[in-house]
């Protein structure tokens, strides 16, 4: 007899198969509901990827700075942060003796003075696309101490690049170019680079001709877009003798306590701010926190709308299939069986939507990154959207949890139907 048959170990597969067939009965409605979930998940994954990627980009950029603390002229902390990572244009300068005073601090392991200036490119670029692109960031550095801070700096090799070297401090016409600046300007070792520099206090720029003596390998930091020259030469061209933009510092012990001590010690200098890495990081994170909160709110709304869509779809499906559910109960389905079936349908919509949404987010991450970068200067180099398996995993898990809860009401409603009443709805 049939009742004596063995239990089916693959019964779940049969429920899944039936749930899929039920969802396929209204393909357009199911597809639209899945699309709603997918869209919400795409937004959520992209946002998660951006949050993760942006923090990683900040960490990466900060780590690649080489120093943990910088001393700079008092000003807007946002600008300080941006300048530290990207090079700024609203430059303020420290008196040159600040270097002499600070470098003797017993907690300092290494220190490097940096002078930053902005030059105009004079017809040197073959891709001169207008005034927005005609500025170059010039960094005047002290090569020995700068290399201590950034031991990973290396010269690019290959045809046209071999023989790269640092400039000699006595020469005033030698520059080293960062990777991206060289690519952009299409300059190689031995080429000429022109820049117009307006000396402080003078109305007109002075055109200078430089020889490129080295092109650096890519670092993923602002160094890639910088033109380097000796600090003394830069000061001279910008007519700012003994002035500094930044003092980059590496402490012997970088703890919050030591940092606070160091900060307290040097804040007594007039017109100076001591900025730590964590501070920079927080500043940059805060810079986009509002935008992130808004995006998160949009994502949350998208998720709620998608969830309402899912619940509505399943409720409509339950309503349409009321007589069928009654028949299933008459045929021996328990409340639990009906609950499982309807709940499974909800869950499947959410899982399929989450999978598609994650895929869309991964495929579209480049687009999202370009869009974000086009909208705002976030002060970091490199990739700012990082979609990891963990981010995708959280999104899928979140969708499953939503499906879990979203399916409860329709499933409960279907399971609670009395067979007699349900069957009579079809007559």
């Amino acid at each position: 007899m049939q009742r004596d048959q063995q239990k089916d170990p693959y019964i779940v597969n049969r429920y899944v198969s039936l749930a899929i067939k039920n969802l396929r009965r209204r393909p357009v409605r199911t597809a639209l509901t899945v699309a709603g979930v997918a869209l919400a998940v795409t937004v959520a994954v992209s946002l998660g990827g951006f949050m993760l990627g942006y923090r990683s980009a900040i960490d990466r950029s900060i780590n690649m700075l080489g120093f943990q603390v910088m001393i700079m002229a008092k000003g807007c902390p946002y600008e300080a942060a941006t300048m530290m990572l990207k090079g700024g244009t609203g430059l303020l300068y420290l008196p040159g003796d600040t270097y002499e005073r600070v470098k003797s601090d017993p907690d300092i392991e290494s220190i490097t003075p940096i002078f930053v200036g902005v030059a105009q490119k004079q017809g040197s670029s073959i891709r001169d696309e207008g005034s927005a692109n005609t500025f170059s960031v010039i960094s005047g550095i002290d090569v020995p101490s700068y290399r201590v801070m950034k031991p990973w700096l290396a010269f690019k090799n290959g045809p046209g690049y071999s023989g790269g070297r640092w400039f000699s401090s006595e020469r005033k016409d030698e520059v080293v170019i960062g990777y991206e600046a060289a690519e952009y300007e299409q300059r190689k070792v031995g080429d000429t680079f022109y820049a117009s520099i307006t000396p402080a206090g003078k109305p007109d720029p002075v055109l200078h001709q430089f020889k490129v003596v080295g092109v650096l390998e890519r670092t993923g930091t602002q160094d890639d877009g910088t033109i380097f020259m000796p600090i003394e030469v830069a000061r001279e061209y910008f007519n700012r003798p003994n002035q500094l933009t930044i003092l980059g510092i590496k402490l012997k012990q970088f703890t919050s306590f030591k940092m606070r001590e160091f900060e307290t010690r040097w804040l007594k200098l007039p017109e100076v701010q001591v900025v730590g890495l964590q501070q920079v990081k927080n500043t940059l994170v805060n810079l986009v926190a509002t935008a992130q909160t808004m995006i998160a709110a949009v994502a949350a709304i998208a998720v709620i709308v998608a969830l309402i869509g899912v619940i509505n779809t399943i409720l409509m499906s339950v309503y349409e299939r009321t007589p069928e559910i009654g028949i299933m109960k008459a045929l021996g389905a328990r409340r639990g069986s009906i609950f499982e079936l309807i709940w499974l349908e909800t869950l499947m919509i959410c899982v399929i939507g989450a999978a598609l949404g994650s895929l869309m987010a991964v495929i579209g991450s480049g687009l999202v990154e370009r869009a974000i970068k086009a909208m705002a200067d976030l002060g970091v180099s490199g990739s700012i959207v990082r979609i990891t398996p963990a981010v995708v995993g959280y999104a899928v898990f979140g969708a499953v949890v939503l499906g879990f809860f979203g399916g409860l009401y329709p499933a409960w409603r279907a399971a609670s139907m009395r067979p007699v009443e349900a069957i009579s709805k079809g007559i």
Partner: protein, 248 residues
């Protein structure tokens, strides 16, 4: 005589519609034996469907006792009623109620899923053969005629090897010829499998082709005819008349 598979006494089913109490069933006594086909006749609103719903454990009586397959079902919860229905009762409805996305074979096998049982293709083929649909096993319901869909519904009811088949207006959506074929199938199942068949119908021709016809009016049994006995005695009279005739 075999023990009754369904035994009901004093069945009442009252509904409240506003301040009015509707007596859908008002004290019905009925018993059905294995292998017996019983039709429930009566005008619309007489209580046919209510009676069949209660006898098939889809609904509970307001009052009265009901024993199905030796088990008293009074006061059982919905899930307990499911347990009574499982394996004892098979259902056929006027609307066929097949799942449109499942093939004929999958529709027939559906009750097994709810019982967590493994599908036995041989058994599926067997019940499809019983209803004459072996060739249609892989077809979808939309590819079948009304009569074929009703046969699939019967096969679905038979897959669990029930003791009682409950059919609510099974020929209601079918033409006369197709309806007759369904009735003949019921007769065959009752005779061959010992299945008790309880059927409601408006079709008097079918209603009087069964073993027993019960007529309801206003929730009460107003007439009960043992048609088998009538047919047997009528047959005996004809036989006796045929035997006597030559003497005349």
């Amino acid at each position: 005589m075999q023990d009754a598979i369904i035994e009901a006494h004093g069945l009442k089913r009252y509904y409240h519609r506003g301040s009015e109490t509707v007596k859908a069933l008002d004290g019905v006594d009925i018993s059905i034996r294995p292998g017996e086909i019983v039709s429930i006749l009566g005008p619309s609103g007489s209580g046919k469907t209510t009676l069949i719903n209660i006898l098939s454990c889809l609904d509970a009586p307001t009052e009265g006792t009901l024993i199905v397959a030796g088990k008293s079902v009074a006061g059982l919860s919905e899930d307990e009623l499911v347990e009574v229905r499982r394996g004892v009762l098979g259902f056929v409805f006027q609307q066929f109620s097949l799942l449109p996305t499942l093939t004929v074979a999958e529709n027939v096998e559906l009750p097994l899923m709810f019982l967590g049982m493994r599908v036995n293709p041989q058994r599926t083929a067997e019940v499809l053969e019983m209803v004459g649909l072996t060739e249609r096993a892989k077809h979808l319901p939309r590819e079948l005629s009304g009569g074929q869909m009703q046969r699939v519904a019967i096969a679905r009811a038979l897959i669990m090897d029930p003791k009682i088949l409950v059919a609510d207006e099974p020929t209601g959506n079918l033409d006369r010829k197709t309806g007759e074929s369904i009735i003949n199938l019921f007769k065959h199942l009752a005779a061959e499998k010992g299945l008790a068949i309880l059927v409601t119908t408006h079709n008097l021709a079918f209603g009087y082709e069964v073993d027993r016809a019960i007529t309801l009016e206003d929730g009460r049994i107003v007439n009960e005819e043992d048609l088998r006995r009538s047919r047997e005695s009528s047959g005996r009279r004809t036989e006796a008349a045929e035997q006597v005739a030559p003497l005349n």
